[in-house]
């Protein structure tokens, strides 16, 4: 909202200033390019090292594949990989939605009923300390071999970080803002919808970004037990078949999905939280 136009207009009249300005912006562009190019250089280097190691050490294909073999598998078996991505994606996204929705509801309850928070928060902490790998068989026994137990695992894994962050976001309202709402005679509902909810959004999105990748982990771990479709099942099958190229390709597909999910949440965050100074990704 600042008006730099006036400053820019003044400086153009002085050639020395204009040159300095041009130099400044050129340096800025160079830095921006560098920031974009360096990660690509890192990836290329890593693949080159991988290629060299497999070639030089003559690593057997059933131990680790070469980059070309993985690329071949990615292309040849693309249809099969996508078929397996679909159930995993459905489970991760559904679990993400269910888990976060429940966490937001429970956080709202906790903020308005302190007694509930005091009674149930320790239980939530205990459930969260159980590793996913241990929770998975319990849920499979309870819910069978369909999509449901995987969704439940993904939901559970999202639930805790979001709950903790959401409670903090709803409660950490500036005390003077609460005094302001009191002077304005605002009721609890108005304070919730006009203040607490907005205040919690930055906290919520940092939890959602974590949840977007953990939900995928939850779905994959769920698929390790008693399923024959999905990224998780494919990982297990490829391992038992010593098909290392397929294993690597599957892992790449899974993490590409994770990254996409994360980027979508980051994009939504930028669209929703439009009142903060420009944040770097």
């Amino acid at each position: 909202m600042a008006q730099p136009a006036a400053i820019a207009a003044n400086s153009i009249e002085d050639p020395a200033l204009a040159a300095a300005e041009a130099q400044y912006f050129a340096a800025k562009r160079a830095r921006a390019w560098r920031r974009r190019a360096m990660p690509a250089v890192g990836v290329v280097t890593l693949i080159a090292v991988w290629f060299a190691l497999v070639e030089i050490l003559k690593v057997k294909p059933f131990i680790a594949p070469s980059p070309q073999a993985v690329l071949h598998t990615l292309v040849d078996k693309f249809g099969m990989l996508m078929e397996n991505l679909v159930p995993t994606a459905i489970e991760a996204v559904s679990g993400f939605l269910v888990g976060n929705f429940c966490a937001i509801l429970v956080a709202t309850l906790f903020v308005h009923k302190k007694a509930a928070e005091e009674a149930f928060f320790p239980i939530v902490v205990i459930i969260n300390t159980i590793p996913v790998v241990a929770k998975a068989p319990i849920l499979v026994l309870l819910m069978g071999y369909g999509l449901e137990p995987k969704i439940a695992i993904a939901a559970l894994i999202c639930f805790f970080p979001t709950l903790v962050n959401m409670v903090r976001g709803l409660e950490s309202v500036n005390p003077q803002t609460m005094e302001l709402m009191h002077v304005l005679s605002a009721n609890k509902r108005e304070i919730f919808f006009k203040v607490r909810l907005y205040n919690s959004l930055p906290y919520l999105f940092s939890a959602l970004k974590i949840a977007s990748s953990t939900a995928v982990i939850g779905a994959i771990v769920g698929e390790w037990i008693g399923t024959n479709t999905g990224i998780g099942a494919l990982i297990v099958q490829a391992t038992y078949a010593f098909d290392s190229a397929l294993l690597y390709a599957t892992v790449i597909v899974g993490s590409a999905f994770s990254v996409t999910f994360f980027l979508i949440i980051t994009l939504i965050e930028r669209l929703v939280i439009n009142w903060q100074p420009n944040m770097a990704l």
């Binding site: 005094e179 203040v195 939280i273 009142w275």
Partner: protein, 235 residues
């Protein structure tokens, strides 16, 4: 410890009164009691012939905090509109200024869509004054509103506040720890003594309006400031 005891204030309608006293004399507490932000441990509080709670519910009181306390997710205009959206969704009285007019009144025309992080400290406090006036209050309470600002901004806002007050004719009760600010702004300076907080003296200030900053360099002003300081030392 007794913060305040037997304090009674009578403000003439449309007057500008500042509260000055040593720290711990309860000047902020007095403001908070009037605004129903603090309940007295004993006794009763009457504001405009009602209880403090009734006065608050009727929006008889506007409050300006030291920190502007703007909602960062609302633009300047939306912040000024907040009082009309909460506390029973009261309609704006026909004679009251719109949020747009209030922003123009505090000198922020053209900044309606700016978010608080895009505004300077002084501008944020202007928005907060506009918001406090949005309920069309009978009394505007200001709790060291310019205390956190730099001196130049503070001086400018002192002049601006007098201009706003002359235009709105709102009764203002203003807490400050600066005797210069008190002498410049008010028609009456209410000196509080501490332990327990009580009214020490009411000093009238007779400088004509409109006042400009140059007033502070006149002999009369310096004399008044010296007198206020003298009283403050015995508080």
């Amino acid at each position: 410890m007794t913060a305040l005891q037997d304090v009674s204030l009578t403000l003439a309608q449309g007057s500008f009164v500042t509260l000055v006293g040593p720290s711990g004399c309860g000047k902020s507490t007095l403001l908070r009691v009037i605004a129903d932000l603090v309940k007295p441990t004993a006794g009763r509080v009457g504001v405009l012939g009602r209880t403090a709670e009734q006065a608050r519910r009727e929006r008889a009181i506007g409050f300006v905090f030291q920190d502007a306390a703007l909602l960062p997710w609302r633009t300047a205009l939306e912040n000024v509109e907040l009082p009309h959206e909460v506390g029973g969704r009261r309609e704006r009285p026909a004679h009251a200024r719109s949020a747009q007019e209030l922003l123009e009144l505090v000198g922020l025309a053209g900044w309606e869509k700016a978010y608080p992080h895009e505004l300077s400290g002084g501008m944020r406090q202007r928005v907060s004054i506009a918001r406090a006036l949005a309920g069309d209050p009978k009394i505007l309470l200001m709790d060291e509103p310019f205390g956190a600002l730099d001196e130049i901004t503070r001086d400018r806002l002192n002049e601006e506040l007098l201009r706003i007050w002359e235009k709105t004719k709102t009764t203002i009760l203003f807490v400050t720890h600066s005797i210069y600010e008190a002498a410049f702004l008010s028609q009456q300076v209410l000196m509080l003594a501490s332990k327990p907080g009580r009214v020490r003296e009411l000093v009238p200030v007779d400088f004509p309006l409109p006042r400009r900053l140059a007033l502070r360099d006149t002999a009369e002003f310096v004399k008044l400031a010296a007198r206020l300081r003298g009283i403050l030392e015995t508080c």
